[in-house]
């Protein structure tokens, strides 16, 4: 049985959800989300420090989606009703923790690299994360799309929490990658 993305999304979109979206990840979408979340966080009276962290994590998470969503073959897109550059974003609040979940399709060949990177990031201390960040900053070139290899490191550094992730098999070579970031 292949992983049902829409079903998974409807489960995420329950509880105290501040914002939920599934569809194309475009520049406009990113702009809208960032605008909306600023208003939303102010209206629920979140303290300034948390608001800034949430905003920062969102900026990086959305840009990761923007740069890395894998385009599905046409037949899957039409059959299972996925937009182009399909991604998922859910921001929810549980007591004092804000959880940002992002999801996107990915091909199997990319899984190992991503898994190793996140596991490595999760194993580092605060100081080691800082060193890793500075090293990548100083030594890696920006990709043609503007990605820098720093997003996940930055997210981990800013939240101080472990990143949680799953890879669910969808069809053939395609998997669905979900990342959960916790801001406390």
């Amino acid at each position: 049985m292949s992983f049902d993305v829409h079903e998974y999304y409807s489960q995420l979109d329950s509880g105290n959800v501040l914002l939920a979206y599934k569809g194309s990840i475009t520049t406009d979408l990113i702009n809208n989300v960032l605008e909306q979340i600023e208003v939303k966080l102010e209206s629920v009276d979140e303290e300034a420090k948390i608001r800034k962290k949430v905003y920062n994590v969102l900026v990086e998470s959305l840009q990761n989606l923007y740069h890395h969503v894998e385009e599905l073959p046409e037949e899957y897109k039409s059959r299972d009703k996925f937009d182009s550059k399909f991604g998922v974003l859910v921001i929810a609040k549980d007591k004092d923790t804000i959880k940002i979940s992002t999801g996107n399709f990915i091909t199997s060949e990319k899984i190992k690299f991503l898994k190793d990177k996140i596991d490595k990031i999760n194993s580092l201390s605060k100081d080691e994360l800082k060193d890793m960040y500075k090293f990548i900053l100083n030594h890696q070139k920006l990709s043609a799309k503007g990605g820098g290899g720093l997003g996940l490191v930055d997210i981990a550094r800013k939240t101080g929490n472990k990143l949680e992730y799953t890879f669910q098999h969808y069809k053939d070579d395609y998997y669905f990658f979900n990342l959960d970031v916790f801001i406390t």
């Binding site: 920062n56 920006l142 997003g151």
Partner: protein, 126 residues
């Protein structure tokens, strides 16, 4: 040299570079998806300015947020300033951060440890 004067947008900072006064300012938010497009002209300008800089170049950076894509471009900007400083010209980088914004202070300290130019950390108290 022609000065640079760019109005800020919700995703890109206000930029004012003046070759006559040697005042370099980047202020606001820097969160474009692809920062290379935005920052390349600034880096090129600094390259040219470096051929004939004024005695003291003062850099004022006051950013509310910047994404990781920008952080690499900002490093490129600082590297040009480092070259100017290495050629025995005076350069000072004033890194501003809002009260209680430890992340922004830390970001400034990261750059300070990579770039061989004097930095001054300035806390903005509202």
């Amino acid at each position: 040299m022609e000065p640079i004067s760019i109005e800020g947008t919700p995703k890109t900072p206000t930029v004012k570079f003046d070759a006559g006064t040697g005042i370099i300012e980047i202020k606001g938010r820097s969160i474009p998806e692809n920062s290379i497009e935005f920052y390349k002209p600034l880096v090129d300008w600094l390259e040219e300015y470096g051929q004939n800089p004024v005695e003291k170049t003062v850099v004022n950076v006051q950013l509310e947020y910047f994404n990781t894509s920008s952080s690499k471009c900002i490093l490129d900007v600082f590297k040009k300033l480092e070259a100017i400083h290495k050629a025995k010209n005076e350069v000072i980088i004033n890194w501003h951060y809002e009260e209680d914004d430890e992340d922004m202070l830390e970001a400034g300290e990261d750059y300070e440890s990579i770039i061989r130019v004097p930095f001054k950390m300035i806390e903005i108290v509202e």
